[in-house]
C-alpha cells in the first residue's frame, strides 16, 4: 500500500485517464453529498421541533379550567369551572414529593396600566416566584419575583423585553421606574425575555398582591408545575403522564366533574406532547436515512459498474502487463488501489463540500421546524468508509477475474 512505485504508477494512470477518473469521482461525491444534505435536514427538523418545545420547561404540566359539557351528580352541563387557592394548596401538599416547581397564575383584568402619562395595553399576570422556572423565563435585567415579595405583598413588577424596547426607550434602564396599575404604583425590578415576542408583552406581579389588591379573592386562572428532570426520556414521560392523571383526577373530584368531561378542564403535559413530536421526528429521520442509504446503494452500484467497465476496458492492458511479468496480485492490487484512491478522494471531497455547505448555510436557515441543519461528522465519515469498502468489494471480483484470465486471451481482446 505504501509502495511509492505503485503510487507513481497510479498517478500516471489517473493523469492519463482524466475523464474516467472524473466520472467515477463525480458519482461517488454526489452520492455522499446527497446523503449528508439529507441527514443534515433530518437533524435540522429535529432541532427545530426541539426549539419549539424549549419555550416552556420540558417537564412542565399545566391545568386550565373550562366549561363542563356533561351532566354529573345532578349538576347541569355548561357550568364554568373556577380554580381556587385551595386547589393549588391541596395539590401542593398531596404531591409535595414529585413536584419540582409550582405556581398558580391569575390574569388581572379590568385594570389600567400607566407609565407617566402613557397608557399601556399589556396584560398583567399574578404569578409565584417558581413561575420563572416553569415558563423558562430568562432574566436579562434585574431579578424575578421572589418568595419575599409574595409574603410581603410586594408592589413589584417584572416586564418583558418588548415592553422595555417599546416604552422605556428613553431611560437607561427600566429598573427602579414605577408603573401605575389602576392607580397603584408598582416598582419595576426586572426585565425578562422569552422565545416568542408575544410572551414578552406581559407584566408579572406577585400572585398574592394580585389577589389582594385587585380583588382577586382566592381565584386562580391556571395551575402550572414542573417535575424534577429524569435522565431517561421514557421514564420522564411516564412520570409526567402519571402526575398529569393524578392532577386531573383530583381537580375533577374537587369540582364535581365527570371523569370523561374533556371540556371542563384541560391538563396538559409538555413531556407527553414532546413524545408525540419526537416520534414524528424519529420517523422523519428514519425516512431520511432510508433515502440516504438508497442513495449510497445507488452510489455503490455506480462504482461497481464503473469498476466493471474499467476492468473490461483494461483487459488488453492487463494482458500486456502480465506478459511483461506482472503477477496476478499486482494486477488486482493496481486496479483496487486506484479505485480506493479515487473513491476516497472524491468521497471525502463530497463530504467536505456538503459539510461546508451545511456549516455556511445551515445557521442562516430560518424556516419553522428547521433549525441549523447539521450532521454528525462521525456518521458522515462512516458512510464514506462504507462506500469505499463496498466499492472495493465490488471492484475486487472483476479485477480478480481479469487477473486470472490467460494472457493470450486478454491479448486477443480488442
Amino acid at each position: 500500500m505504501f509502495d511509492i512505485e505503485r503510487w507513481q504508477e497510479i498517478f500516471d494512470t489517473i493523469r492519463k485517464n482524466k475523464l474516467r477518473t472524473f466520472l467515477t469521482g463525480l458519482s461517488v461525491a454526489s452520492g455522499i453529498f446527497i446523503l449528508v444534505i439529507l441527514l443534515g435536514f433530518g437533524q435540522g427538523m429535529q432541532n427545530g421541533i426541539e426549539q419549539e418545545f424549549k419555550q416552556d420547561a420540558s417537564t412542565s404540566v399545566w391545568a386550565w379550567p373550562g366549561v363542563t359539557s356533561k351532566e354529573f351528580k345532578g349538576l347541569n352541563p355548561g357550568r364554568r369551572i373556577q380554580f381556587v387557592n385551595e386547589n393549588f394548596n391541596t395539590v401542593s401538599s398531596m404531591y409535595n414529593d414529585v413536584i419540582e416547581y409550582e405556581s398558580a397564575r391569575i390574569f388581572v383584568r379590568d385594570v389600567t396600566v400607566n407609565y407617566g402619562k402613557e397608557a399601556l395595553v399589556y396584560s398583567v399576570q399574578g404569578v409565584a416566584s417558581d413561575f420563572q422556572f416553569i415558563e423558562n423565563t430568562g432574566m436579562i435585567d434585574g431579578r424575578f419575583i421572589n418568595y419575599q415579595d409574595e409574603i410581603a405583598l410586594g408592589k413589584v413588577a417584572i416586564i418583558g423585553k418588548k415592553i422595555r424596547t417599546d416604552v422605556f426607550n428613553e431611560v437607561e434602564t427600566p429598573i427602579g421606574e414605577f408603573v401605575d396599575i389602576s392607580g397603584i404604583p408598582f416598582k419595576i425590578i426586572g426585565v425578562f425575555k422569552e422565545q416568542r415576542e408575544r410572551e414578552e408583552e406581559r407584566i408579572y406581579i406577585p400572585i398574592t398582591t394580585a389577589q389582594r389588591v385587585f380583588n382577586g379573592g382566592n381565584r386562580v386562572n391556571n395551575l402550572s408545575y414542573t417535575l424534577p428532570p429524569v435522565q431517561n426520556f421514557d421514564e420522564a414521560v411516564a412520570q409526567a403522564v402519571n402526575f398529569k392523571n393524578s392532577l386531573q383526577t383530583y381537580l375533577q373530584q374537587a369540582h364535581t366533574v365527570a371523569p370523561d368531561d374533556t371540556g371542563a378542564m384541560e391538563v396538559w403535559s409538555a413531556m407527553e406532547e414532546a413524545k408525540r413530536y419526537y416520534g414524528l421526528t424519529g420517523n422523519i429521520k428514519i425516512f431520511f436515512w432510508f433515502v440516504g442509504i438508497c442513495t449510497i446503494v445507488a452510489g455503490v452500484v455506480g462504482v461497481s459498474n464503473i469498476m466493471l467497465i474499467v476492468v473490461r476496458e483494461r483487459t488488453r492492458e492487463i494482458g500486456i502487463r502480465k506478459a511483461l511479468g506482472a503477477k496476478p496480485w499486482s494486477i488486482v492490487g493496481m486496479i483496487l488501489h486506484e479505485a480506493i484512491f479515487v473513491t476516497a478522494i472524491s468521497g471525502f471531497g463530497g463530504l467536505i463540500f456538503s459539510m461546508a455547505l451545511l456549516e455556511l448555510v445551515g445557521p442562516n436557515i430560518e424556516v419553522d421546524y428547521v433549525v441549523n441543519p447539521s450532521v454528525s461528522f462521525n456518521v458522515a465519515f462512516a458512510t464514506v468508509i462504507v462506500l469505499i469498502l463496498a466499492g472495493t468489494l465490488a471492484g475486487f471480483v472483476p479485477a480478480w477475474r481479469a487477473a486470472r484470465v490467460q494472457v493470450i486471451e486478454s491479448l486477443r481482446d480488442e
Binding site: 512505485e5 507513481q8 504508477e9 500516471d12 494512470t13 492519463k16 485517464n17 488488453r316 492492458e317 494482458g319 500486456i320 502487463r321 502480465k322 506478459a323 511483461l324 511479468g325 506482472a326 503477477k327 496476478p328 496480485w329 499486482s330 487477473a403 486470472r404 490467460q406 494472457v407 493470450i408 491479448l411
Partner: protein, 233 residues
C-alpha cells in the same frame, strides 16, 4: 537454452477438441536466431505461446535455461516471463496511454527496478532502436515501424534470455519489415537468443535456422545462410 520434448496441446472447441500440437521436439541453443514457419493453423503461434509461458501445454517437457517449466502458478509464471522472456507481438501491444519511454520501462517496474534507473535504462534501449527523440511520444503518435521498434526495446529492456517474436513484421510494409529485421539481427549479433514466428519466406531467410511446422508437427528443420536485412534498407 530451450528444450522441448514430445509437446502436445489441444483446444476444446465446444464438444470436439482440436489437436494443435502433436508431439513437438525442439531445441535451441543460446545465440540462435530461429524462424518458425508454417501456414495458418499449423500451430506455430500456439508453440510460441507455450514457449513464452503465456499458455500451458497438455503434456510434454519444456526446459528453459535449465529450469523445468511445469505446473506453474500464475505468480511463478509471471516471474519466469519477467526474468527469462521478452515478447514482440504482431499488433505491438503497447499501452496506449503511456509514452514510448514508459512502455519500455514497464518490464523494469515489474523487476522492481527504481524509477530513476528504470528511466535511464529505458532511454538507453530506446536509443538502441533509434527512437531516443520519440521517448515522450504516445504510441498513437508513432508509425507502425516505430511502434514495433518501441516494442522490441521494451522486450530487450528486461534483458531476457530469449526474445520471442510473433509475426513481428506482420503489420508492416516490406521496407519497414526489413528495418525491424535488421534490428532483430543486430540484437542477435550481440548474442541474444531469438525465435521469430513468421509465414513470410524472405523474413524467415533473414534468420539462421528455419523450422517448418505443418499440422502440429515439425516437418523440416534446417540451417540457412543468413540474408542480412541492412542491404534492403
Amino acid at each position: 537454452m530451450i528444450e522441448i520434448k514430445d509437446l502436445h496441446k489441444s483446444y476444446k472447441m465446444g464438444s470436439n477438441s482440436l489437436h494443435v500440437l502433436k508431439g513437438i521436439n525442439f531445441t535451441a541453443e543460446a545465440g540462435e536466431l530461429v524462424a518458425i514457419m508454417g501456414s495458418s493453423g499449423s500451430g506455430k503461434s500456439t508453440l510460441l505461446n507455450i514457449l513464452g509461458i503465456l499458455d500451458g501445454a497438455d503434456s510434454g517437457e519444456y526446459t528453459l535455461d535449465g529450469v523445468p517449466i511445469e505446473d506453474l502458478t500464475e505468480t511463478k509464471a509471471a516471474q519466469y516471463r519477467n526474468k527469462f522472456l521478452g515478447f514482440v507481438f504482431q499488433s505491438f501491444n503497447l499501452i496506449n496511454y503511456k509514452s514510448a519511454l514508459e512502455n519500455v520501462a514497464l518490464p523494469l517496474y515489474y523487476q522492481k527496478v527504481g524509477r530513476k534507473e528504470r528511466q535511464e535504462k529505458a532511454l538507453n534501449y530506446l536509443d538502441k532502436v533509434g527512437l531516443k527523440e520519440w521517448a515522450s511520444h504516445l504510441p498513437s503518435e508513432l508509425s507502425g515501424g516505430q511502434k514495433q521498434r518501441v516494442a522490441i526495446a521494451r522486450a530487450m529492456a528486461a534483458e531476457p534470455k530469449v526474445l520471442l517474436a510473433d509475426e513481428p513484421t506482420g503489420a508492416l510494409d516490406s521496407t519497414t519489415s526489413y528495418e525491424v529485421m535488421a534490428l532483430i539481427q543486430k540484437i542477435n549479433d550481440e548474442g541474444n537468443t531469438i525465435l521469430v514466428v513468421t509465414h513470410e519466406e524472405d523474413i524467415a531467410h533473414m534468420c539462421k535456422r528455419i523450422v517448418h511446422l505443418k499440422d502440429g508437427v515439425i516437418v523440416e528443420d534446417k540451417k540457412v545462410k543468413q540474408v542480412r536485412a541492412e542491404q534492403y534498407v
